[in-house]
């Protein structure tokens, strides 16, 4: 046996090995390794720490084996169940902000994405740039901008007073103000997945449907909407999950009077210095996020979408 045959035999043996560790060091899996290591260190590690802290007694600042307790989970779940204390409001606020933000961004984004993907030819790049440019700015700056705009004696009040409006209502520190902020901040995360999914619909698919007798409504209902559904689902997933974790918007536009789960976690870790309680809330938020993500993703057939390129 030549040296080349020996080498080829060894490579075949590695490629066909059932050992997953062996498979991981063969291309293309080896290309994933740096990212996998980074995720392990920077995501899994802190997550484990959070989970462990969440079962420590109140005000613990280090892990003490043998002092495990579920008192914080009991406090949070009890509060949510009874509606007493802050946790009931926090849950309602968080759910309302996430759900309404998702629906509003979807309703506003879909027509715009459709126009950009399938109708507008001239100045399309300009429109896309206008939509992308806000992403280049820090969320804090954009949300503070909103605060300066809406606050009493702010820009909006000055403008409306020019038209004789004297009793300017309190715009800040309302639930809908937070929703306004999350809608504005997360809009691109809804718009671009929908835009890309609409863009991927072949012109001939549309022409074929028209050719086969589809009117505008049938064309939208039977062809455009189903084919853009992955974009709608992915966009909704992004916006819903990002809104679940909306902290800056709640802190600045909620002004400490409207709490969401994220801002309450921030409060527990910061002002209250109750890391175990903050950790328990973080674990709760993580569980809610994962469950919602799985439910949303189950509404689309990822395998069928992956095979569309072959159709």
């Amino acid at each position: 046996m030549s040296a080349l045959d020996t080498l080829r035999g060894r490579m075949d043996a590695v490629a066909t090995s059932d050992n997953p560790l062996t498979a991981l060091v063969t291309p293309p899996y080896v290309l994933l390794l740096p990212l996998a290591v980074l995720l392990l260190v920077m995501f899994v590690g802190p997550m484990v720490a959070i989970v462990l802290f969440s079962v420590q007694p109140g005000n613990a600042i280090s892990l003490n084996p043998g002092t495990w307790t579920v008192e914080h989970y009991a406090e949070i779940l009890g509060g949510m169940a009874s509606g007493e204390g802050v946790y009931g409001d926090v849950l309602v606020n968080t759910a309302a902000v996430s759900a309404v933000t998702t629906v509003v961004t979807l309703v506003l984004s879909y027509p715009a994405a459709y126009a950009l993907a399938r109708k507008i030819k001239r100045y399309k790049t300009v429109f896309l740039l206008v939509l992308i440019i806000p992403l280049f700015t820090s969320v804090n700056i954009r949300v503070f901008g909103w605060a300066l705009f809406l606050v009493n004696n702010g820009v909006l009040e000055s403008v409306v007073s020019l038209f004789g409006v004297s009793n300017y209502p309190t715009m800040m520190y309302q639930r809908w103000t937070i929703i306004l902020g999350t809608t504005y901040v997360y809009m691109p995360f809804m718009l671009f997945p929908i835009y890309l999914s609409l863009l991927s619909i072949e012109d001939e698919t549309i022409a074929a449907a028209q050719d086969l007798g589809a009117n505008r409504w049938t064309l939208f209902r039977r062809i455009v909407l189903p084919l853009s559904k992955p974009g709608v689902i992915i966009g909704s997933l992004f916006v819903f999950i990002l809104s679940l974790g909306a902290d800056v918007e709640a802190q600045i536009l909620g002004g400490g009077s409207i709490f969401t789960m994220a801002s309450n976690i921030n409060y527990s870790f910061g002002y209250s210095q109750n890391w175990p309680l903050g950790s328990a809330q973080a674990v709760g938020l993580l569980i809610i996020t994962v469950v919602c993500g799985v439910i949303i993703l189950r509404t689309i057939n990822l395998k069928e979408i992956a095979s569309r390129g072959d159709a």
């Binding site: 698919t205 449907a209 159709a311």
Partner: protein, 353 residues
């Protein structure tokens, strides 16, 4: 009858289709044939209503349908890419036009799949991505037939299939045209497809309709050099007219020995003699009416036939003869020999530029 009059399509200064007139009888298999970029697909998409003409009219049985939307025309287009709906099964694809036209789907899918040679029990509930290229083409055809059109328009639907499957489907399409007694308008750049399937050919080049007629007529009596070369592999000789009596023309050329006198229906004075590769033979001595001295450069065996590639001994021109393998075996020809590429007078086609 489908009729287009002065049909025109412009894109800025580019004229894609230039005042084309065509008439297609009911039940006819008409093929629009031409090279890539000639405007044939543009013409078809105007007939389908997907492109708005810049000028001219389209009528169907006397009714003007020029401005009728695609979804309101009694036509259905089979796209080059087939354009099957990727999120639907085969059954849902075929049911789509039946539902849009408000008809009952009962048993229709099975009948249509059988019509295009697919087994409904095996294929009906498959996703489109699970089908082979040939199966997708058949499903696209079944879906268009499900629309129950008066005219089926086909935009090179076989172009991306392998050669064997193309030949099989060409045959099936021709049979389907007869079986359904439906008008088929087929667009292709493939001469073979055009010749095999069509009752009538429309040859188009650079937006102009340059010849119309039955395939055999266009093959044997092309209007000009472009059509003569497009309609089949051929050797071309520049000629001079030495005599003409209105019915026959006599030409000669420095490239071949002897003069050629043939009847020609072309009004314009011929400038070229065209002879098909398979009408030529190469032999050591001149034994037929017309021939040109050549050097044999290459011999390619293609199963039943042999391609003999030659170069003129007097000019820089190259010629090819496609001869039967048995004939090639019977003559003593090898690469490097000097011989004659030759043919009978009646195989000569005289055409203008």
């Amino acid at each position: 009858m489908l009729q287009a009059t002065d049909l025109r399509k412009e894109y800025g200064s580019l004229v894609a289709v230039d005042d084309v007139d065509l008439e297609i009888e009911t039940g006819e298999f008409a093929t629009i044939v031409g090279p890539s970029g000639s405007g044939k697909s543009t013409l078809l998409h105007m007939l389908a209503g997907h492109l708005e003409p810049s000028g001219g009219t389209i009528t169907l049985d006397g009714e003007d349908i020029t401005d009728t939307k695609p979804q309101e025309r009694p036509t259905s287009l089979v796209f080059q890419s087939w354009a099957l709906f990727p999120h639907m099964t085969v059954r849902e694809n075929i049911e789509f036009p039946i539902r849009t036209t408000g008809r009952s789907v009962d048993g229709q899918v099975e009948t249509l799949l059988e019509q295009v040679q697919l087994d409904p029990e095996v294929q009906a509930d498959k996703q489109v991505s699970e089908l082979s290229g040939g199966q997708r083409q058949r499903v696209a055809l079944a879906r268009s037939l499900a629309y129950d059109p008066d005219i089926l328009l086909l935009d090179e639907p076989l172009a991306s299939l392998d050669y064997v499957l193309q030949k099989q489907l060409q045959r099936e399409l021709a049979d389907l045209n007869v079986e359904l007694d439906m008008t088929f308008v087929y667009v292709t750049h493939s001469l073979e497809a055009a010749l095999v399937m069509s009752d009538k050919l429309f040859v188009i080049d650079e937006g102009d309709l340059i010849q119309t007629g039955p395939p055999e007529e266009i093959y044997r009596e092309p209007n000009n050099k472009f059509i003569a070369e497009f309609m089949g592999d051929a050797n071309v000789f520049a000629v001079d007219v030495v005599d003409s009596d209105g019915e026959t023309v006599t030409v000669d050329s420095g490239e071949f020995e002897g003069s050629v006198t043939v009847s020609t229906p072309i009004d314009d004075a011929p400038e070229y003699l065209v002879v098909r590769h398979d009408d030529c033979v190469v032999e050591p001595t001149l034994r037929r009416a017309v021939g040109a001295p050549v050097n044999v450069d290459n011999v390619l065996v293609r199963g039943n036939t042999v391609l003999v590639e030659c170069s003129s001994t007097t000019t820089d021109d190259d010629y090819v003869a496609e001869v039967d393998y048995d004939h090639f075996e019977s003559v003593d020809i090898a690469v490097g020999d000097t011989a004659y590429i030759q043919w009978e007078t009646e195989k000569s086609i005289l055409v203008p530029e």
